[in-house]
């Protein structure tokens, strides 16, 4: 395997961006829109782990497109419209998670690798929340306490919990298939 820059965007990245986005869209649609009461009420969007995981495994750009485009497509499926600043926030979550490569990720299992990924997931969720909140304040004219009450509680906390629990599960599973490619 030849070392590529984490910013390169070749065919492989195109494919995994597309798969990540489609997967994110379909899973959010299936678990949210169809009201499969997955994991009670806390985790109403387990799919949010997908862009973060694709970021960790395939790099920040793939993470970004998975989240950004996945959220757009998810909204297309459910008919909720098009919300650029929320799509961007989803992209940011995948992007920041993908920056974990810079912290020297050496594989996808073991406490140290998982811990590093978790740190970047937390940062990603917070940066994304800040972006979304700033946009809401600008566009909708709400103030900081209101945006915390209407956005922080219902989105940030579930995103954090889902990401922190599901991304490691996916990483460990991916570790088992990662060695099978000859590239």
């Amino acid at each position: 395997m030849n070392k590529k820059s984490i910013w390169s965007f070749g065919t492989r990245e195109v494919v995994y961006s597309a798969i990540g986005a489609a997967l994110y869209a379909v899973l959010s649609w299936a678990t949210n829109f169809l009201q499969i009461p997955a994991a009670g009420n806390v985790a109403f969007r387990p799919a949010v782990a997908i862009p973060m995981f694709f970021g960790v495994v395939f790099g920040p750009i793939v993470g970004f497109i998975s989240g950004f485009l996945g959220n757009i497509i998810g909204d297309l499926l459910s008919g909720y419209g098009f919300w650029p600043w929320w799509d961007l926030a989803n992209g940011i979550m995948g992007f920041v998670a993908g920056l974990v490569v810079l912290a020297g990720l050496k594989g996808y299992k073991g406490w140290s690798n998982i811990f590093k990924a978790e740190v970047f997931i937390v940062i990603g969720v917070l940066v994304a929340a800040a972006e979304a909140a700033a946009s809401e304040i600008w566009v909708s004219g709400v103030d900081v306490p209101t945006t915390i009450a209407t956005n922080f509680v219902p989105t940030i906390i579930p995103n954090l919990i889902n990401g922190l629990i599901l991304v490691p599960i996916l990483m460990v599973a991916y570790d088992a298939i990662a060695s099978r490619s000859g590239r």
Binding site: V14, I19, F82, S140, D143, T146, T150, L166, I169, A173
Partner: protein, 290 residues
Amino acid sequence: MLVTWQYRIRNSLMETFDPRARWIFSLIFLVSISLFWDVRFLAVFFILAFAWYASARVSFKETRRAWVLIAFILFMMIFIGTIITGGGAAGILPEKTHPVVIWNWTVPLTGWPIVFRLTYERLWFALAQMLRVLAISAIFVIIPYSMDPRLYGFTFRGMGFHDRVAYSMDLAFRYVPTLARDFSVTLDAQRARGYEIERVEGGLIAQIGKIAPLIVPVTMNSIISGEDVTNAMDLRCFGIKPRTWLEKTDFHRRDVYLMIFTGVMLIASIVLSTVFHFGVFWMPAWLIPA
């Protein structure tokens, strides 16, 4: 499980515009309206937004779910904004406001004070907020119903995105039905092993972990297939030179008019709000009690 796009051909006025022109109009509309808190200007934007919305010929029944969600969020914004901040509204309202009612209340045991302070300005601002959020919603809610998914890649290419990024979009749309089918197959396969997604038990981690039997196979399967997809694309020369896009839409005269209108809207908005300061909060003088 079959996914269906909300889009279908409706022979509407909106569809006679080029998708690129529609995207640009929608995004510039967002920028323009965001420069105003003056109800008089917002009303103009509001009318424009719903005229645009109506031109798509989408029935209310189809979009009801989205509007219910928007109504809920709007209600929360106004309600919580009113209760918690009592009319500050992110520094948009003037410092001196005129209360309608003020209630002071203390939370039992903790002793936290809660002040409910409803002002005339706050009520008027709520109207502005409502006009603005609904107008933006009208512009964006209509997109899934009026934009052909197969034109996304081409449209974004036409708006200046790189071929590869634009093709990611096309490819993502291609995988949506496949992955939805995979998801339902996996759901069935696990149910055949006694898995009951609807059964809620255990602590928080156990509950969220319960989605693993669904999410892991679908994700890993798609990653494994990605290797073949990459090969298939490389073998057909993806990304080695600028590609021809078979999908094609044409910019007609009406698209040019729409773009001119969009440009005028943007410039006028910038000039009115920054030079003439029309963007700030405004309230009819007769409404403010002496």
